[in-house]
Amino acid sequence: MPRLLYLCENINFIVPNANIKLEKVEVMLPGCESLPDVIQDISPDLDSYYLVKRLPVVELVKEEFVKEILRKGHFTGISVGTRVDNHTVVAVLPSGHLILSVDKDLYQELGLSGKPSKYTGRNATRFVVEIDLFNANHSNGKKQYNRVLWSLKDRLNLTFNFIFSWEPINEEKVNFMQLTRLWDKYVLEDLSIVSHTIQKTQTTVVPKLSHNQSLVSTPGDGQDVSSIYEYIGTISCDANQVGGPGIYSSSYTCPEPCEEVKGITCQRWSGLISSEKIKQLLKALRSFVKSDAFVPWAALTVHGFDDSPVSWWRKEHGFHKNGCNLYTILILPDDTYWLYMAIGTNDECP
């Protein structure tokens, strides 16, 4: 049976982000009529990411690329237009791993060793090949390096449209001269992160959260944590036209206990967003919630790509009928957090 798993944890600190490909980020601030300057200054739409068309995968494993680009910054990339349950998906992680999720026919022709996917049963129809580009054996002259180059270039010249972001460690601005020099044969496009705002200036009702609230409660009694998450989802989709009892169109109401706030701002950014940006947003939201008395809590939701081959902690991610791998952090003023994680059918619980 397909399952959608929700987890909720009450924690006091956040473990640094675990390498998942980040497609969308949402920030929700009840009590604010517009996005505060503290968040505006670090908003992800100031960054950009890049698309390179028809890039051969072999360019991502060459020693020159690994030395000059991968080792000198955080490089995250994923192929676009490819579905993880039908096609071949390529991803590069900041840890220096190249992940190839391939189907059986391609795997048999490719000639690199990989593991069968956990989500295809006894007769494996999908395989995951992982190449550690930071390994000492992955250098010019070594057998492993020559084998990888030969498989990806001479045997099967795989090419993809690839989106990536690169943050060099020691420099303030991204210097693309090195990348354009390496990839001068290919078309590089600059893409900007798209932002979307939902603002409600009228008085709105939101759930009242406290760190004492029990996370284990039965559904339907109004204090259920899943009802709170559902309500936050309706705000995010701009669907919380709260009617109340007696209203014909909708009798859906905010779960109790609830409180009134002056307005809500919900800002969403879509594109390839780095995990460093999420950490900055989290830090800024944490200090903002503590300092502003009118903001009862803040919510930071992060969505991963549906077609990413990996999710949390480099575990395999699949797509059965949905590929959701998202988490929401509800930040409370007393330095506690609620962490919600939504996992799809073909995902391993982190």
Binding site: D103, K104, R126
Partner: protein, 283 residues
């Protein structure tokens, strides 16, 4: 997982509607489709028509594959001797549609076909005996049913659900593919919707999705062995027909020159194999 297949798109006379149906199939996410010609009378047999030209983008063109399929309607009086001829072999997939119990038995046990399909939009007229189904599975044949009639007509919908749930319960969806049988673009549904529909028919989650992906892929490989190989074991092609990227496969296995080859072969046969002697342990 593999690509999504729809191996039964009906051939219609209206070329514009046919192109539109195929284009919609491509946009919905199907990457391998087969256009079906239905044959009721053996005298009307013609060779496979060429693939229909569609105005697709380059990337869509790269991924979209059009195949040809022939469905022969069988009855007790049908003469099936033409099923092995070259015109039939020009089609990628050979399917039969039995209409009586005897033709079903013949299709399962004797005929060299890839696919056995049924018209579930009405009462079949005969029972699907378990032993014939097991014979067909043992011989590597596949079964198919279409969901198109369920979309077109409410009466047909009842029959389709009744017949498919009965069929799936007996066989549990083994070696079964689902296809649209689409005559119009409105008869097509997206692959994930069809997978959900298969669950309503009684299939399990994994089988529902594999009836659109891995099972049709296995069927196409089986059809290729029927057409292109001798006794499903060997196929012969000229070296010049190998694509450039595959030439490394033959470079390492060049046959030696005739004299040296013969000498090498005779040497292998002349020398008797030395028997390994086992030393007995002394007590």
């Amino acid at each position: 997982m593999v690509k999504f297949h729809d191996l039964n798109i009906a051939r219609v006379k209206d070329a514009v509607a046919q192109k539109h149906t195929l284009r919609i199939a491509c946009r919905l996410g199907y990457e391998v489709v087969a256009v079906t010609t239905v044959l009721k009378n053996g005298n009307e047999l013609t060779a496979a028509p060429p693939p229909i030209e569609l105005q697709l983008t380059k990337e869509e063109q790269q991924n979209f594959q059009q195949l040809s399929r022939i469905t022969v309607v069988l009855s007790d009086k049908t003469n099936n001797s033409y099923l092995g001829n070259d015109k039939i072999k020009s089609y990628d997939i050979l399917a039969v549609q039995p209409t009586t119990e005897k033709s079903f038995q013949v299709a399962c046990s004797e005929l060299n076909v890839d696919l056995i399909t049924f018209d579930f939009s009405t009462w079949l007229g005969f029972h699907l005996k378990h032993q014939y189904v097991q014979t067909a599975l043992r011989l590597g044949k596949y079964f198919e049913f279409t969901y198109g009639p369920a979309i077109r007509d409410t009466t047909c919908r009842r029959y389709v659900f009744q017949n498919t749930t009965d069929f799936v319960q007996r066989k549990e969806g083994q070696n079964t593919i689902i296809s649209s049988g689409a005559e119009w673009p409105t008869d097509l549904r997206a692959p994930y919707d069809v997978a959900n529909l298969a669950i309503l028919f009684g299939m399990k989650e994994g089988q529902a999705k594999s009836s659109l992906t891995s099972t049709p892929r296995a069927l196409l490989l089986k059809a290729a062995t029927r057409r292109l190989t001798v006794k499903s074991s060997i196929t012969i092609g000229h070296v010049t027909s190998i694509p450039e990227k595959d030439k490394w496969k033959i470079e390492g296995s060049k046959p030696p020159s005739t004299d040296a080859g013969k000498r090498q072969n005779t040497d292998d046969h002349d020398e008797p194999k030395k028997k390994k002697s086992k030393k007995l342990k002394s007590n």
